[in-house]
Symmetry: C2
Subunit: 222 residues, 2 copies
DNA sequence: GGCGATACTGAACGCATGTTCAGTATCCTA
DNA sequence: TAGGATACTGAACATGCGTTCAGTATCGCC
C-alpha cells in the first residue's frame, strides 16, 4: 500500500533484508528458507523464484553487505579504515545486523569472506604506512604481518560481541556503553603498549635468531 | 589387537576423538553422526548407544577439550596463561585439532564456551595484575576491560587461523612458520604500542569526558 | 558352562530441509 | 483490451538428518 516507508520496498529486497538479518543472527546453516520466507511475509517458493537457490541468495547478501559496510571501494581504491570502523561502532544499533552478518562472513570462511578480509588487511596496511610516514605511528619490523594483527584487532568487537557484552554484564550483546568502555583500554594499549620494558621483545628476538638462519631484523618484502 | 597405539583404545574414546576432530574441522551442525561413526569405524547407532544423543556427545567433547587444553584447573585455581598458550602454539601440530575445537566452542556460543571464555579472562586478569604489581606491565585504567581485550588478542591466532595462514601465503592454515612470523610484530605492539604520541588517547579521553557525566580518569571499581 | 549385562549392527521412522512444478493472480506493453 | 511476461502460491519431492528398536554377538562373573 504505502510506499514511503521501507516496509514494503521491493518484495525482492524485503527478502534480502530478512535473509541478512537471519543469516547474521543464527548463521547461514540454521537459517532456513522457510524461516526467511515467513519473516519476509512471502512463501518459501518465492524466495527461490527470486534468487534461484539458497547459495545464490547468500552470494547476493554477501555482496550487499560488503557494499553497504565498506562503501563502494571503486571510489579511491580505499578510504580511511579507522574512520569507517568508528562509524560502525558509533552507530551500533543501525549497523548491528550488518556487522553480525559481516562477522559471520569472516569466520565462516566463504569466498567473499576471504576477499573482504584481504581488503581489510590491505586498507589497514596503507593506514599504518601513512602513520609511519607522518611519524604518528611506530614502524614495524614486518608491516604486512602487523597489518594483519591490527586488522584482526579491529574485528574483535564484532567476533566477540557476545562474550564482551556478557562479561561486562550487559544483556544485549555489544551495547553502546560496552563500546565506550572498550575505547580507553584499547587506546592505552595502542599508546603505551603492555610491557614497561623491552625485555620480552628482546628475549624473543634472540630466541628467534637462534632458531632461524638469518638474524636480519627486517621483515620480508611485499 | 595391539593396545600400545591409541588406534583402538576404547571404542568409546575413539568415537569421542573422531567427534572432536570433525566438530573442530567442520563445526557441530555440519558434522553428522553418520560421518563421525564412519570416521571411527563403527555404526551410527553405536555412537548414540555410548553417548545418548548428539548434544550429550558435544557436552562430553567440550569437557574433554577444556580439560586437555586448560589443564585440570582444580590444581591451583589457575596457572600461567601466557605459558599455556605458548605451549599450544609451540606444538601446534599436536594441538591443532583441540585448538580448532576450542575456537569453535568460543565462537559458537555454547554454555561451556561461555565458561571457558570467562576462565580465560580471569586468568588473564590475574596475569595482568601480577605484571602490574611487579612493575613489568603498565597499570590500566580499567583492568577488567583490559583483561578481556588481552584475552581476545590471545585467541586471535585460533579464530583467524584460516585467514592468517592464507594472507601469509601458507597453505595449511596456521603453520609453525606463520606463528613464528607473528611473534615479533605482536611483541612490538605490546612493547611500544602503535602510536608514537598520546594524542589519540588524550583526544578520546576528553571526548568521552564530554559525553559522560564524570570526567574522572579512573575506571570503575570491580 | 551358563547367563545376565554390555557392545554392536541394520533397518527403519519421523522430521526438517532445499528444491521443483503446475497453476493462479497481477502487471506491463502493443 | 488482449496477451505474454512476471510475481506469487500450495503441494509435493527427494534427501539427509537425529533417533529408535529389535536382534545378534561378545564379554565377565557365579
Amino acid at each position: 500500500m504505502r510506499s514511503v516507508s521501507p516496509e514494503d520496498a521491493t518484495t525482492r529486497s524485503r527478502i534480502r533484508d530478512a535473509s541478512v538479518l537471519l543469516f547474521g543472527r543464527v548463521g547461514f546453516e540454521k537459517a532456513s528458507i522457510r524461516a526467511i520466507a515467513e519473516s519476509a511475509g512471502v512463501s518459501p517458493a518465492l524466495v527461490l523464484h527470486h534468487f534461484g537457490s539458497k547459495e545464490r541468495l547468500r552470494d547476493e547478501c554477501d555482496r550487499y553487505i560488503v557494499d553497504e559496510v565498506m562503501g563502494r571501494n571503486d571510489e579511491l581504491g580505499h578510504g580511511d579504515l579507522a574512520a569507517t570502523m568508528q562509524r560502525w561502532l558509533a552507530d551500533i544499533d543501525t549497523f548491528r545486523p550488518s556487522l553480525d552478518y559481516l562477522s559471520r562472513m569472516i569466520t565462516d570462511g566463504s569466498e567473499h569472506g576471504d576477499r573482504l578480509f584481504d581488503q581489510l588487511v590491505s586498507r589497514t596496511e596503507s593506514m599504518l604506512a601513512a602513520g609511519a610516514a607522518d611519524g604518528s605511528m611506530h614502524e614495524s619490523s614486518d608491516p604486512r604481518m602487523t597489518a594483519v594483527i591490527v586488522a584482526t584487532h579491529g574485528l574483535l568487537p564484532l567476533i566477540f560481541e557476545r562474550h564482551i557484552g556478557r562479561v561486562l554484564g550487559e544483556s544485549g550483546g555489544l551495547t553502546e556503553s560496552a563500546i565506550r568502555r572498550m575505547t580507553l583500554p584499547t587506546l592505552e594499549l595502542y599508546t603505551r603498549g603492555l610491557y614497561t620494558s623491552d625485555a620480552v621483545l628482546e628475549a624473543a628476538r634472540t630466541a628467534l635468531a637462534r632458531t632461524m638462519g638469518a638474524p636480519s631484523p627486517e621483515g620480508e618484502g611485499r
